[in-house]
Symmetry: D3
């Protein structure tokens, strides 16, 4: 797209110029996804921060949890939309659609989670996440009790809070850098994959 | 979708029970679109209001204007997102993608119009629309001057304000009725149409 | 008043230049009220929008309802004040005072409906209307339940929501056009009418 | 009015039970106005606070100033409306209409001072007052410069700030006590006074 | 401190130039505290307002009350922090630490009273005070009931509301004048006093 | 303090039970500071997240930068206060006082950075940080230009944004866990250190 904005306000390093561990991680994701999500390139501008960012990301998202992988992505999409973060809504909306095999869910949660085709338990989870995102200082016992009433345990609640907190960081970095979502994300999970030949 | 919410909190009339003019309009849109957008069915609960709603809609959107058809839809998507109106973001997002032949634009404008692939003139248009939507009482000469600097004339500015005002009404009706977007909208304009045989 | 602002930022048509149906409506209201409320002249700048606006207005306000005519005006005054819309607060404040034969009520509702001389049922009605006006996306079952507890039926709730939505449109048009309230409105309903000779 | 709310949530003392100086002040205002504004009765519940309140009031409002008496009342009406204080908007609206001999001005300023029939200098004065009322911590050199550009001197600016601050106190006391405006205020200054016989 | 800001945007009078009663009060506070808190000097710019301010202050803070002296200071610190008023947070934070013999309490309440080492009754008191400070128009019966459930009587509630209202005034004057806290306040109550010889 | 709140809502591990690398880091900070800041114990509940958190922290704060160490702490204190995060305001307020050898500065910045004894350049830095913290989606070219006018380079701006983003994560974790600041922090940097014997 000729008039499209660049992918970052800061310089984006060449793959060849990156430290080996970072280049390896990027090549791995490219292998798996078929393209390199721009967050890898934009954050590679600062290798140490890149390493810490993805270590944190993996610690939160790869860890066994009472939340499903799709539920974690719901939290990311809802709070990223509350922060008006284009990159995160588009990229994690794609992941959410794929994990949940639900082509409508990401748009629903991004616009108004009250109207989404999700369970009351998931709505309570997003209510908590949005309170952490917007008014963390006012999170109180009643908010924890509301989650426990839906069966969330203490470790699950840590997960909800920590994923919200981490993507609050990610949202702010993406907005300040004007991180551009890859075009590929917009359609992912909206149409059935072509069967492999 | 078995667990999907109903299309309205209020009763939805059968087509056969509707006044002739309303049924005719609905059949016409079905003929053209291939399905009946739910807004027609939900609002048909009150025929007089239905007639006034669509008369207003047509007066604003079918009128010749300094704004393109796509630009009018940009206003609708941006202000509907600011009002967290699921129906309007999804339905008009589809129309916007089709008019602009731009599969990414609706998601961009819904999340953060500052980051969208649109012109500075269009961003100024959306800044004004969002101010009318959120703080109409504070709209001042400086806001008009900013539009004129981008070449908008007085009739164009009326269009921006009036489309924003009308869809503010529409957003509130859609949210109060829990108007459900048709599943068809989500994918429209995202993939090339199959060529007609 | 020499220094008074004009009645609109846009041109105001001459009565003689208007389409016949619009001129007839304006003459009828002048006959009934003794003057032409400026909203008729300001919106006549766009005849098709004028027709749709007043068709919508009539559909909502002339329809039989579980809300009294005065209660509908309470909604208009409360939500127009929340939108800081001078024209609507002043004009509909006048109508409210007359319908309710209560010279203090409009000022009370415009400033703080919690302190107004109205019933708890009417305060609940205005709480709902103000939520629709400010946060329609968050309107939830609990809000409907609060109205039902006061005896409001589903059609009454539609009325509250739809009147709020329509005057949200009206407020935005009035503020953007700087629609000036007629001087006559300010005193209407505050003093007993002189008996007819 | 049989169903009217009481004039305070707290007990209202009998005139006979009040300390002599307070009773004298109340009788003097009754002599002058023809009725006792409820603020005198409500605050007399705490004589020492009453004395300090009116001493502060007089220090600010009776002092010679670059602001006219009407301009001081504009500040009171605009900031009291921003605080949704019924007593202060109604009572000081009356005083403002009388001082300015302008029957429309109080309603205009209470709803939206941008649309009021006042001078640009007065609008700048109210912009500053509203900023002090809402965001005093952010008042900055640019705000002072905007006032000086309209010819306000340093003592005038102190007056604007201090009147805003004092009526912020008054607004909070009136809202917490549910101080009821006297019915007489609503009509004052709206109609020409009958000539004295 | 060479680069420190002046203590007021307005002229600060010399002690010798002040009216006798004001000079006497200032000398008394200096005798007691070991320094002259800047609020006395800044407000002495307007002697009549100074007298009313301190009369009000004394009426509220020296009066017997169901609130302890420390609790009154908690209200001042919490609401002054909500108004981002540097002078009042620093000066009354010092007084609070001394009254409560609690070196941590002022910082806790200024940042987030939910996390402070205070009783649930005191947290309810601060919840009410903060509502009066931010949204006095919405104070309702439920807010009074919450206080009564903690044993607060009607006069106590007046105290909470009135102290909040008065320091709202004080906060606005301090921010508009850029009133500088004396350096002495910052450390008061944080370290044990040296025993007297 | 007997009635003090626990240091976390979640279990806090024993030092002996921690992985070696985490225990070593904690012992090192204890050796240097004389006590273990609670953030280390609270976050050690999740070792992988602990490691990523401190790797990120070090990447941002130990990196050479156009910002001084004190300036980085100013950003942390200002944005943590905007998020009402008790732990971060208290702990980083201590560090800020020590780095800047300025016992008043942390309280000033926490309450109202406009009134702090810092340079105009530092105020511009905090204006940007607070915009990233509150409204990152609206950060625009004009915000970057304001920083460049004070001599900040692109890497400095990344630092401001990234430190703000990271401590936004930290603030949310601290508030959700009710992380309690160590008592030691409150006094650090307020009084001269006793000379070593």
């Amino acid at each position: 797209m000729g008039t499209a904005a660049p992918i970052s306000r800061w310089p984006v390093p060449e793959l060849a110029d990156l430290p080996e561990d970072i280049r390896a991680r990027i090549l791995a994701v490219q292998e798996k996804s078929g393209f390199v999500p721009n967050v890898f390139l934009v954050l590679a501008h600062r290798p140490d921060e890149f390493r810490a960012f993805f270590a944190y990301h993996d610690a939160l998202l790869l860890r066994p949890s009472g939340l499903s992988k799709g539920e974690k992505e719901m939290i990311i999409v809802a709070t990223s939309a509350a922060n008006s973060c284009l990159y995160c809504v588009v990229a994690h909306g794609a992941v959410l659609r794929i994990y949940e095999k639900a082509p409508l869910i990401a748009d629903q949660i991004a616009v108004n989670h009250h109207k989404a085709d999700i369970t009351p338990r998931q709505k309570a989870m997003l209510d908590f996440a949005l309170k952490v995102s917007r008014d963390s200082a006012d999170v109180a016992e009643a908010d924890f009790a509301a989650l426990r009433a839906h069966g969330f345990g203490d470790e699950d609640i840590w997960d909800i809070g920590a994923i919200t907190a981490f993507f609050g960081l990610s949202n702010r970095m993406a907005s300040v850098t004007s991180m551009r979502p890859n075009d590929e994300f917009y359609l992912m999970g909206r149409v059935p994959r072509a069967p492999k030949a």
